[in-house]
Symmetry: C3
Subunit: 190 residues, 3 copies
């Protein structure tokens, strides 16, 4: 089977199950953005792997996240009540609780935030900040989807926590590297 | 001539030819996203160039792609029937066929896919996956443009194949580096 | 205070001041995209810091830019006339002039452009081009906001100049590294 099936050349594509929709449909935008997020996470992992001192726990947690983002993608790609819906494991409160515990673990090692910090530092930290911002874009697209048709609201909550997790991970990555955080120096005060 | 011409400060900008439109116009969104894609391809090229074992054929193919993405940008920036349209070489079936041959060449070296693979691996592979996801975003914007006004439908098909090409290239980059692909471990199975 | 406050789990969020809006609101899209831009700038800084010959002036200018992008974010997050508006320093003509002087400084060291150049080269240059394209996306979102409700028009102008600045910086980064620029070879001429 070739990668390019040409079935989408008219601008329509298939969801998981029988439905066909425009590739411009907000549902496709939502899981397409989650795919972009997954790729941004992969770039952060690659930077961690090539750093002076790769952080093994971070790699494992990001691998977990990459798997989970495919669960998120499958959830978004599958309308409830359609034939294949039974194959899909929906994102639920337990997934959210799992990621909150992970946030707490990363956040506990770094000082409380008093001000915005520059999304910068090591390559791993900076790439995690990029992923964080893409996670927030994905959350916004999911909210647009929820405004338009039925979908799983836990996916929005989950993506929100993913962005908090990536923030906490970025701070941890800089701390492990011994880098000082730069705080926002508001205009007028610089 | 200064870089900043200030002619766009009112929020309108020029297409190629005489027309002026809002910078929020879907046509500008479409070629602006192709510009973002071209930049993502450039980052992947830079990573390849700095890797332990730069892949010369990959660099040449990505250079081809960067040129082609400017052809795509010019195509999108030029409404048919306007004065400068005759200067522009439109994307056509031959361009699509050319890129399909390239996909086949990269795909042939790697095992068939049975499951989604993590967009990860070497820095080059991970950056190619980011570009892949941006190509898909660009495809979606072009479809929105096609829903709204006349444009070249081959551009959508071309961008679709670009995302398949970048996928095949990412897999090849990991294979050359001797990296094992990670497959999606579906929830409930982890 | 935990990172995740759960107050946004219903899909609404707070602006700076009392107003609550949908996270899908164009105002949130605008400052969310500026956050993505700030992160892209952070990645370029990280690449510069890890290059063979880090460019100290570039790092300082990008640090300035990261601060300024938080000023931009605060400006966008704060509706005029709301209770906290008095705390915010708005982007003004002087900020624009400041960045124009910076553009001139970077542009003066490189030959005038005669054709589009590939967004590529060193890792720093390529990452600056990615940031440039994201700045242009942010500009487009701000224009959408301006089409829909009152906001500070100088923010659009400022973001426009930011993209020109990042272009000039990318060219300078390649020049310092002794890299030759690749020009667009138009279809038909390759
Ligand atoms: C939604 C979707 C996407 C979305 C979201 C997917 C997600 N989960 O996050 C995104 C945007 C990520 C995506 C990307 C791509 N996709 Co897609 N995608 C689909 C679609 C519509 C549904 C997939 C899905 O999520 N199913 C839900 C899950 C639960 O069901 P399932 O896939 O059957 O999963 C079961 C099996 O995978 C099995 N399983 C699990 N592990 C394993 C392991 C082995 C060894 C085996 C045998 C089985 C197995 O168990 C799972 C649960 O029951 C399918 C088409 C279709 N209608 O099925 C195309 C499809 C799979 N995609 C396709 C392609 C080409 C791609 C891309 C390469 C496109 C590109 N150029 O970027 C990428 C690849 C990304 C990657 N990293 O691998 C093609 C594959 C064609 C081919 N040659 O095989 C398909 C068939 C569409 C098509 N007709 O063109 N895709
Ligand atoms: C559409 C457009 C874009 C789009 C898409 C372009 C594409 N093809 O992908 C995108 C978003 C990429 C873009 C980006 C930028 N753009 Co622009 N763009 C345009 C626009 C409107 C049309 C360009 C085009 O594609 N023309 C179609 C082609 C076929 O025509 P052409 O450009 O005349 O090409 C011919 C010549 O280039 C010639 N040629 C080819 N090779 C060579 C080589 C040499 C040596 C020579 C002499 C000629 C030559 O042959 C071509 C075919 O006939 C022009 C303004 C205009 N109306 O012309 C601005 C314009 C060229 N852009 C401009 C700017 C500033 C930029 C950016 C720097 C903005 C930024 N901050 O990011 C970047 C630069 C990107 C880069 N990598 O170099 C300015 C340049 C100002 C200046 N000082 O020269 C212009 C003039 C707009 C303006 N008035 O402000 N742009
Ligand atoms: C808009 C906004 C954003 C926007 C834009 C902000 C910008 N300026 O660019 C963006 C999208 C960037 C953003 C991102 C994040 N945000 Co936010 N954000 C806000 C919001 C709504 C307003 C912030 C703002 O810009 N205020 C305008 C400025 C002028 O006012 P100010 O913040 O009071 O600034 C004054 C003080 O900071 C003080 N100050 C300056 N420097 C210093 C230094 C010290 C030491 C002290 C004590 C004070 C101080 O002087 C400033 C001027 O008077 C607040 C909630 C709120 N309503 O206040 C949340 C808020 C601050 N954000 C929050 C969070 C969690 C985040 C993120 C971590 C989310 C994520 N997962 O990505 C990131 C962090 C980004 C980073 N790099 O640090 C939480 C923080 C919760 C907590 N535990 O403290 C808040 C409180 C919202 C909430 N209730 O959940 N945010
Ligand atoms: C930290 C601040 O970011 C804003 N906010 C909340 N969710 C998102 C999102 N998905 N994207 C962008 N901004 C968001 C709110 O204003 C919040 O208070
Ligand atoms: C692999 C799957 O990705 C979806 N799909 C097809 N085209 C796009 C695009 N441009 N962006 C996001 N998703 C897309 C379809 O559901 C397809 O089956
Ligand atoms: C260089 C060219 O890019 C287009 N242009 C101007 N502003 C933007 C933007 N924010 N995003 C994308 N394209 C833009 C115009 O067509 C301009 O002439
Ligand atoms: Mg396809
Ligand atoms: Mg301009
Ligand atoms: Mg929150």
């Amino acid at each position: 089977m070739k990668l390019y099936t040409k079935t989408g050349d008219g601008g329509q594509t298939g969801l998981y199950g029988a439905d066909r929709v425009s590739k411009a449909h907000i549902r496709v935008e939502a899981y397409g953005t989650v795919d972009e997020l997954n790729s941004a996470v992969g770039l952060a992992r690659a930077h961690n792997g090539r750093s002076h001192k790769p952080h093994a726990a971070l790699d494992a947690d990001l691998e977990y996240l990459q798997n989970a983002l495919f669960d998120v993608g499958a959830d978004l790609a599958t309308r409830s009540g359609t034939p294949y819906a039974k194959n899909v494991s929906r994102i639920d409160e337990q997934d959210v609780a799992f990621i909150e515990a992970m946030i707490d673990r990363y956040a506990e090692g770094v000082p409380p935030i008093r001000n915005f910090i520059h999304p910068a530092g090591t390559l791993t930290a900076a790439a995690l900040h990029v992923a964080r911002a893409v996670a927030r874009r994905a959350e916004r697209e999911v909210i647009r989807l929820l405004h338009e048709e039925e979908a799983n609201a836990q996916v929005q909550v989950y993506l929100n926590r993913v962005s908090d997790l990536l923030f906490a991970m970025a701070r941890a990555a800089n701390q492990v590297a011994g880098l000082q955080e730069e705080e926002w120096a508001v205009k007028g005060r610089r």
